[in-house]
Amino acid sequence: MDILDFIRNEGIPKWPYPIEYGEETEDSSDVVIIGGGLAGCCAAIHAARRGASVTVIEKGSTKRSGSAGPGIDHWEFAVTNPCSSTTPDEMVEIMGKGDIFEAEHLLYVALNESFDTLLEFEEMGLKIRDTDDDFKDAPFRDEKSKLLFAYDYDGKLCLRIFGAGLKPALYKEMKRLGVKIYDRVMGTSLLTEKGEQGRRVIGATGYNVRTGRFYIFNAKATVIATAKPVRLWEFGSEKVGSASCFQDVNCTGEGHAMAWKAGAKFVLMERNIPYMGSMSYPPFSTGNSRTTWFPCNMVDAHGKPLPWGGRYGQPLEGGVHARTHCGEGQKFLYQRVQDPAYALYGYMPDLPERIRNGEFRLPFYADLPSMPDEERDVIFGMMVGNESKTRTPVFRKLTQAGFNPDKDMLQANIDSPEGSGINTPIAPPSNSPNIRDASFLCGGPMIGWEMKTNLEGLFIAGNQTGTGCAAIAATTGRYCGRSVAKYVKDKDFINPYRPQIDEEKERIYAPLKNDGGKGWKEVQIGLCRVMQDYCGQYKSEEILKTGLWWLNSIRENEIKNLSVNNPHELARVLECDTRVTVGEIIMHNSLARKTSCPQLDFKRLDNSEVKAAEEESFITVQQADGKIMSEEVPLGYWLMGDFEPTLAENYKKYSCFEDSNNGLGGNSK
C-alpha cells in the first residue's frame, strides 16, 4: 500500500520495529564475515566446513541480497568443466596479456575453482544442467553432461545455468552448517588490538538498520566481503530508484571505509570508467545482442539485419551458427579476452558510420522471432529469467503484458551510434564522461595469496581488488573461507578495547541529537557532484586537492547536521559518511599516481606522460601516523617477495587443499 494513501486514511504510522538505539549485542565467533552476498556466503560455508565458528553480518537479507540475489544466468571461467577446450594456466596467460593490472592470482583461483564451485552449488540443490532435457540436441548443449554453454559452442568455457535459486540455496546451507546470520546489520567499523590503527583486526561493530541496535562482533579473523562501492558519481534515486546498475544497491563501501580507517593498504582505487548511471535501462530489459542476449539477431527500424563482424573486422557471414563457433584455426572465444584471436564477435566496426550515413535506421530491434527455436527459448526464458533482476522485472512483466518472443521484436534503447544495439550498463556512455563507476576492475585492499591484507586478522573475499564477476565472487569466497579457517586454528581471541567501541557509538548516534537539518539525499547527490567535478575524466593536483577539501567540508558541516527520523534514515546518513571516506581513498590514490595511464582510463592534466606498459606499477595508499603513505608495487607482485615464482606453485601452497577430504576444491563435507 502506498504510504501516502495510508497516511491520508490512517495518519502517520509509528515505526514498526522496536527502537533500540545504542543498546548492545555481543557476539563471538572464530570468523566474522561482513557482507552476505555470494562471496560472503561461500566464505562462510567453507570456513564452517573446516570447523570454524562463523558469523555473517548483512545489511539486507542474506536469502536474497547481493548482486546475485535475484539470480545468475551464466557462469564464467568454468575452464575445468569436462567439455572445456583450455586449462587455467593457458587461460590466465592469455587474459594477463590483455589487462596489465588484472589480479592474476585471483583470476587463477577462479579459473581453477569456478566449475568445482558450480558442482558444489548443484549438491546444494541448484540446477546447473539441463536435467529436464528442455534443450535436447541444442547446439549449445553437451548431450553427455547436459551442460549448456554460452557464447562459444566450440570452446565451451562459459556455462548457462538456472541460477535464480542460488542465494536461497546458499542460505539454507549456511543454516545447516550452523553459521550465525545477522540480517539487517550493517558493518560500521573494524575493532583493532588496543584500538590502534595498523594493529591486528579483532572483529567489527555493527548497526541494525531497523532497530538502531549496536553490535560488537569479536573474532579471531575478520573477512570483508562487501564488494565494490557503487553510485559514488551518480545517485539517481528520483529517476530510476537508488540504482539502475548491476551492483547491489547496498554496496556503498562500508568495507572499504572501515578497512581504510583501520590502516589497510589499498590499490587501484584510482581506476574507474565512464558509466551509464541512471541513463541506463534495467540490465537485459531492452533488445540487444550482448551477454545474456548473445547471439541475438538484431534488425534496424525497417527490418534490415545488423551486420556482424569477424575478429579482424571483416564481415561475418553465417548467422547465429558463425557467431557461436570458432573461426578457422581458433581454439576458443572468450568475452573477457582482449586479444582479437580469442575475442567474441560483435557488430561490424563501421556500423556507427553506417548509422550516421543513413544505411541503418534507429531504433533497432532484437529479432527473436528469426532466431532458431532453442536459441530464442534459451535467451528469453532461461537467460532472461535467471539473470539478476530479470525474472519478475523483465520476463514475467513483459510476457504478462503480452510480449511474445515468437512473434514480437523488443526494441533496443536509442543510444549514440557507437552504443546502439549493445545496451549493457557498462556500454559506451552517451552522457557525461565525468559520470563514472568503479566497474568490475575496481580497487580495494591489497591482498596476496592468503587473501589477507597488510593488517593481521583482516581478509578480503569477492569483487574487491582488481577483478570481478559472480564466479570471481564465489571462488574467491570459498578460497578465502578455507584460508581464514586455517588462520584461526592457532589464534586466540583478543578482547575489544572499550574506548574504541565508545568512540564508534559516538560517531554512529551523533545525528540523533540533531533537530532539523538537511535530508541525506541532498548530501548524497551533493557528494556525487564533488566526485563528478573533482574526480572526473580529467584530474590534476589542484582539482583533486580541492575535491578532498569539499569531501571533508561536507563531512564536517552537512553530514554532522543531517535530519534523522528513524533507524533506517540513520543508516542512510551513515552511508553518506561512508561515501565521503571512499571518495577520499579514491582521490588519495589518484593523487599518488603521478602520470597518466590509459590502461586505467586515468588522465592527468598536469602530467600527460605515459609510462610504457612494462614500466607501470601499482600505487598503494594507506593511512598511518596521521599521514597518507604511498608506495609503488611492481605488477605481478603475487609472484614476488615471499611468494613463489609461478601461479601454480603459489596456488598449490596457499589454496589449503591439504585439509580437504577429496580432490575437489574445498568440497570437504
Binding site: 504510522p13 537479507s61 535475484p70 537508488s242 547496498n250 504478462q400 503484458a401 512473434k407
Partner: protein, 114 residues
Amino acid sequence: MIETKKNAVVLPNPATPCIPITFNEEICIGCNTCVDVCRADVLLPNPVHGKPPLVVYPDECWFCGCCVDDCPVEGASEFHHPLNQEIAWKDKKTGELFRVGIKNPPPPCTKKLY
C-alpha cells in the same frame, strides 16, 4: 463545484520514480515475505495485521523483483518499473507497437520460464 475522489489535504508529492510494488488487497495475506527479502527496506509491515505492507521508500528500490519472486500467493503482488525504464516492442508482422501499461493489451504470453 466539481466533485473529487480525494479530499484536498496537505501531503508531500508522491514519491518518484514510481511505486515499484502494488498489492491486491483482496488476496494478499499480509505475510510480509516481501518485507523480509527486500534488501533495501523499501517496504515496512502494515500496522494493521494481515494487511499488505506499506511502500515507504520506493526511491531506494533496486528493482530486483525478489519481493514478487518470493511472494507465496500468486497475483497478490505486482512489480512495476518506472515509466522512464520501459521500452516498446513491435509485432514483427504487423509493425504495431506495444508496451507495458497500455489500454487493451494483447493477451498474456504463456512462454515457458525455465
